[in-house]
Symmetry: C3
Subunit: 134 residues, 3 copies
């Protein structure tokens, strides 16, 4: 298995970060197999979605409805509402798999691999890319 | 890695499509390994759930609560409410893995692999099945 | 592929069960590869999240908001609200992958692998662990 960890600067506002290009570079020339994308963090998740047409903002806005960053959370470390960030990975998993054929991701035209990160306290994120050939 | 793409006719109303039989046929005779099911579309997701006892309709009805197809979405291409379809894959991922033993899926008694598709604009869906032997 | 099934006693109240230690024991000494964790049940899910600081209770409380165990569900077998349990796996998948390096899970400091189970009717759960070396 080939495996590397890349680092993202994720800033201090909730945002969605596209890691498709890094994943594509990682699998280039590697033939057939499965790419694992894994986020070793407990307050962010991974998704495969369209980017660049407003859906990132739509997702972040709807997460404020589904997991409000308000006072309801028992987990009280960090900034107010931070408990919501620790529940997010149960709904948006930090682990996903993309098949690779001929060294290329089999993503559809409108699909990108993104890190979904509402956490304001953690400015750097690591993403592990692993390729299992088959 | 063995990999194929199958095609589904998904119609023009929100629905859940069972692809378990196609997945089972694909892995038959293949021994031990991991089956990747991957949907190369940005407006639908994959789930493992019970079918045939009302839960598909329950899921679609509750998605109307969690991701309403109304005017809130910034993404405005396509039919009204279509922005909700582009957020769905963040909550219902287009990628999942099922272990295979002796050429059989290790699904539990009540589990089926389904495509969850609320999108009215896309009548045909592709599903990629990939098997990595181990 | 190495594969085993472990059994959990999950009791009769909604709860989150940590299976990280069992997963770590399973991959110990196995080198590089991908760990598949798979739950062959239609009324529970798997998550990777922080445990021990209130987030399990936060998740269960918010699931009562997102998927209330009330009378709305078409699926009516089992206890009242049981239909919610059968929709849960669409949002919290029963399948996930964790990369393994040098026989160790690549989980982050605050990440644990958990079974999320609101179902009161099923006191025993099985979890399949499978390791594909690479």
């Amino acid at each position: 298995m080939d495996t590397v960890e890349i680092t993202l600067q994720t800033g201090t506002v909730p945002a969605v970060f596209d890691v498709t290009a890094a994943a594509a570079r990682f699998v280039a020339g590697k033939g057939e197999g499965l790419l694992s994308v894994f986020l070793p963090h407990a307050t962010a998740g991974l998704a495969i979605m369209e980017t660049g047409a407003g859906s990132e903002e739509d997702l972040l806005a709807q997460l404020e409805v589904l997991l409000p960053r308000d006072g309801r959370w028992r987990h009280r470390h960090g900034a107010p509402g931070h408990g919501a960030d620790r529940v997010l990975p149960a709904l948006i998993s930090p682990s996903l798999i993309v098949p690779v054929i001929g060294g290329s991701l089999t993503l559809g035209t409108w699909q990108s691999i993104v890190v979904v990160d509402r956490n304001r306290d953690n400015r750097t994120r690591r993403v592990r890319l692993s390729f299992l050939a088959g």
